[in-house]
């Protein structure tokens, strides 16, 4: 049986949204899929050498908050300086306490499993990002590079 193929486009650059691409890609590899993730726009944050991913309660009514704050805390309060860092710290604690892998760990597992990681050249240029700020185990490419892989993929996800 030829390997199945999974193509993912990762467009989000927050801690919470960093999970789906790396969880699905690493698991698909374990199941024998050939897997490729194309990182574009804010998704490029996920392939930086130094990850500074955050989670924000701002404009995120679905985010559970301590003491039921998501129910009664005024939305405008979520814009208070320091709120983002505080929520990110709490989320990271919870991730650790529940035995959920860190993004660094999942990313390493993807690299180990030969998941193809492609950074979008156009958005790297657009955001004036430097190649050396991104991890070594990636290639750079554009939309055509994505379709070269995704063209005959069995599963394609836009995240």
């Amino acid at each position: 049986m030829a390997d199945k193929k999974l193509a993912i486009i990762a467009t989000k650059g927050t801690l919470d949204w960093a999970y789906p691409p790396f969880i699905l890609a690493s698991t698909a590899s374990a199941l024998g899929y050939q897997t490729c993730i194309f990182f574009t726009f804010y998704g490029l944050q996920l392939i930086k050498k130094r990850l500074t991913l955050k989670v924000s309660p701002l404009g995120n009514p679905g985010m559970p908050m301590p003491m039921g704050m998501d129910k009664w805390f005024p939305v405008i309060g979520t814009a208070i300086p320091g709120m983002e860092s505080m929520m990110t710290g709490m989320m990271k604690q919870k991730i650790k306490a529940k035995g959920v892998a860190s993004i660094e760990e999942l990313r390493d597992l993807c690299i180990e499993a030969d998941v193809r990681l492609v950074g979008c050249q156009m958005t790297i240029d657009l955001f004036d990002m430097k190649r050396e700020d991104l991890i070594d185990n990636i290639e750079l490419g554009g939309a055509a590079t994505f379709f070269e892989f995704a063209g005959d993929a069995d599963v394609t996800l836009f995240i």
Partner: protein
């Protein structure tokens, strides 16, 4: 106690780590050998079943005792 060739302690690990660690452990086994996995993630019950079905490894046993799940996987 069922026989196995290697054991993987996946206690305290959450999705997808038990599966990923199991896959890694299976790589070191030869066909027909059995891997025993102990996990605490309730989601792993369905996941190991799905993993076995998709990878050609055989799930010989899936049991629960005292909040811990035991899986026996025979490498295909």
């Amino acid at each position: 106690m069922a026989e196995f060739d290697q054991e993987l302690d996946a206690r305290g690990l959450n999705c997808p780590l038990p599966i990923l660690r199991a896959k890694k452990a299976l790589n070191d086994l030869s066909s027909g050998q059995v891997l025993r996995i102990i996990a605490t993630d309730p989601g792993s019950v369905k996941d190991f079943d799905a993993f076995a079905q998709q990878t050609g490894n055989q799930l010989l046993e899936s049991t629960e005792a005292d909040g811990e799940f035991q899986f026996l996987l025979r490498k295909g």
